[in-house]
């Protein structure tokens, strides 16, 4: 059962940072799916990536910690 929620952080037009999915690495263009991953809150690109995390990444590598956004 998925436990995440959609969030959409407000961003000014001159903010050049980009955010990547903490499960698969994809760009998160706007909305992020946020859920508790066992070692902190993770931001991913879609509910599917919560499944990817729970079904594959966490069993393979253990609970992941979040990493910072990219400024560009």
């Amino acid at each position: 059962m998925r436990k995440g929620r959609w969030t959409e952080p407000s961003r000014s037009w001159h903010d050049t940072s980009v955010t990547y999915c903490q499960a698969c690495g994809r760009l998160i263009p706007r909305r992020a799916w946020v859920f508790e991953g066992g070692a902190g809150e993770l931001r991913v690109c879609s509910p599917d990536c919560e499944d990817l995390y729970e079904d594959y990444l966490k069993p393979t590598y253990g609970a992941m910690a979040a990493y910072a956004d990219n400024k560009g």
Binding site: V18, C24, P29, L52, Y56, N70
Partner: protein
């Protein structure tokens, strides 16, 4: 015009799929026929597509499989970032930001919303490799770039046209930053022409069959493709298969670095997990996420749908999942450079994935291709026209042997399918005299099925001076064979200065840091270049190859008598003498 009724059964869906695919194909022909640069009209380094209003791909003409990841993601991500309300009739958005979904900086994506009245129906789009976009090297392929700002002009998603009118301020910025603005003007208009044709044809299709029916057909076709590819993947043996490969250097002095993949096949889906790959390198050999995704789709389609029977739309990309940790060579973070990741890491990623698939389905995969686009960039002032020119050139490597046949010769595979530039066009456009162009003997790795041969060019500079840059790989580390097949031939780029008698590598001649990656070396009239792409690797034990095939290879000049004896154990008589 009264819309015709069409049932959305198997026949009706097939008719509408072909209609949509033909629109994408016509868009591509417009682009090819009207562009200025050889990379478009000869090389075909671009793709065209149609999307629904949510940004889902409904049809594509993919001349360059290296763009499959971008075709699937980039326009959709751009729509998501900007929001539907951003788009108005007559707008065209351009963007080439590698951190936002493009393959690398030269690849430019254009998208146009398609409205029927006030209602947004979908988008026409195209992605193409523009030949010159500024930066530190003519041809915008700086193999010693250490950040994106050295690679050229970066555009986030912005409007090139607004309400059908030129955004003149933006055009002025773009043209002022490209070395060959006339070409950029022509190539951008070729792309715009493709978008306009896509818009017109989709609206016509909606009039012919009723737009709601067309939209519903596109939705069903996407679901159909997803089900079909998932069913094909479900036939593959489930399991986890690992492989790794090495890249020679990053162009700015790194040691060889590694890319790893763990391929998980289960439940009709494939996960390609690149965790553990080398951290991002300083030079431009990093990939963006969509490049890695394209490599995975390429490998999956090769294994699960080799005849291309499943309609290529958003559905057939869904059963595949990439894991590419940001900050590694498979997912570059700002401000890391990435121009070579698309052209020279991507083919190796495909070979890497196929090496993993080979453990599950050995009969369906090929040994390594040459694995390098062998990018050669040059530019200068043309002595006949007085105009600045610049060119991005690539040539044919060998394809790997397979369980069924030898690899093809002289192909820019597997990632791009681009065409070569004929000698006539080459000499007409640029001050270079071709002395030889052909297949390079003994570059196909020996095997039960031999690797394909690569091409070699030998040419002389006829202008007072030309500035050259190169981004090659597989100069030292040969493409690897499968199941006992031998490696393919390495690449080479050599120079003979006017008045000298011997060719030598560029690092020896000019002291550049790498024999295969350098930027802005000036050559002069009378200097000569030898340019050879890497060959394909062999599949299976060479001693199992039919002796008659080896003799034929020697007779055709593909294999030398010495290599036939060394690799296949077959002595071949040439001209009455046994060698």
């Amino acid at each position: 015009m009264t819309a015709r009724k069409i049932e959305l059964d198997a026949v009706g869906l097939h008719v509408l799929h072909n209609a949509l695919a033909n629109i994408a194909a016509e868009m591509a022909i417009v682009m090819m026929k009207t562009s200025y640069s050889t990379i478009f009209n000869e090389g075909l380094d671009f793709s065209t597509m149609l999307l629904d209003r949510e940004g889902n791909l409904i049809a594509e003409k993919n001349f360059a499989p290296s763009m499959m990841g971008a075709v699937n993601y980039t326009l959709r991500w751009t729509l998501e970032e900007l929001g539907e309300s951003f788009f108005r009739p007559g707008d065209i958005v351009i963007h080439n930001d590698p951190y936002r979904g493009n393959c690398h900086l030269p690849e430019h994506m254009l998208m146009k919303p398609i409205f029927r009245g006030e209602t947004l129906i979908g988008f026409s789009g195209c992605i193409g490799h523009m030949a010159e976009i500024g930066g530190k090297a003519p041809g915008s392929f700086a193999s010693d770039a250490t950040d994106v700002y050295q690679e050229g002009l970066r555009l986030p998603p912005v409007k090139l046209f607004e309400g059908g009118h030129y955004n003149e301020q933006l055009w002025r910025v773009i043209l002022a930053n490209h070395r060959t603005p006339r070409n950029s003007w022509g190539d951008l208009h070729a792309m715009i022409g493709a978008l306009n044709i896509g818009e017109r044809r989709l609206l016509e299709l909606g009039e012919r069959y009723d737009m709601e029916t067309v939209v519903e057909a596109a939705r069903r076709l996407i679901d159909h493709s997803e089900r079909r590819l998932a069913a094909e993947i479900a036939e593959l043996p489930e399991g986890t298969y690992s492989a790794s490969t090495m890249v020679e250097d990053d162009g700015v002095g790194s040691p060889p670095f590694e890319v790893k993949v763990k391929l998980v096949i289960r439940g009709g889906k494939v996960i390609a997990d690149f965790t553990g790959s080398s951290p991002q390198v300083r030079g431009p050999m990093n990939c963006t996420f969509v490049v890695v995704a394209a490599a995975l789709y390429n490998a999956i389609f090769s294994v699960a749908d080799p005849q291309g029977l499943i309609p290529r739309n958003a559905g057939c990309y869904r059963p595949a999942q990439v894991i590419a940790p940001p900050g590694t060579v498979v997912n570059v973070r700002h401000p890391g450079p990435s121009v070579g990741g698309n052209t020279d890491l991507q083919p190796k990623l495909i070979d890497l994935l196929l090496a993993a698939f080979a453990q599950a389905v050995p009969e369906r995969v090929a040994a390594s291709t040459g694995g390098s686009s062998s990018n050669l960039l040059f530019g200068g002032v043309h002595p006949e026209t007085g105009r600045y020119y610049s060119n991005y050139h690539f040539d044919g490597m060998g394809a790997g042997g397979t369980a069924l046949k030898d690899g093809n010769d002289g192909e820019i595979t597997r990632h791009s399918n681009c065409r070569n530039t004929p000698v006539e066009v080459f000499e007409h456009r640029y001050p270079l005299l071709t002395l030889r162009y052909g297949l390079a003997q003994d570059t196909g790795g020996a095997g039960r099925h031999r690797g394909g041969l690569s091409t070699e060019r030998h040419f002389r500079i006829t202008a007072p001076e030309i500035t050259f840059s190169a981004l090659f790989d597989r100069c030292k580390m040969a493409p690897t064979g499968l199941f006992g097949g031998l490696p393919g031939g390495t690449s080479a780029l050599l120079v003979k200065r006017a008045g000298e008698s011997e060719f030598q590598s560029f690092d020896r001649a000019f002291g550049v840091g790498s024999p295969s990656k350098f930027t802005n070396v000036v050559l002069y009239a009378g200097d000569e270049l030898y340019y050879r792409c890497p060959g394909g690797a062999g599949f299976g034990d060479p001693r199992e190859r039919e002796a008659d095939q080896v003799r034929e290879d020697v007779a055709e000049g593909y294999v030398s008598p010495a290599a036939a004896l060394r690799d296949y154990g077959i002595a071949v008589e040439i001209g009455g003498t046994r060698s």
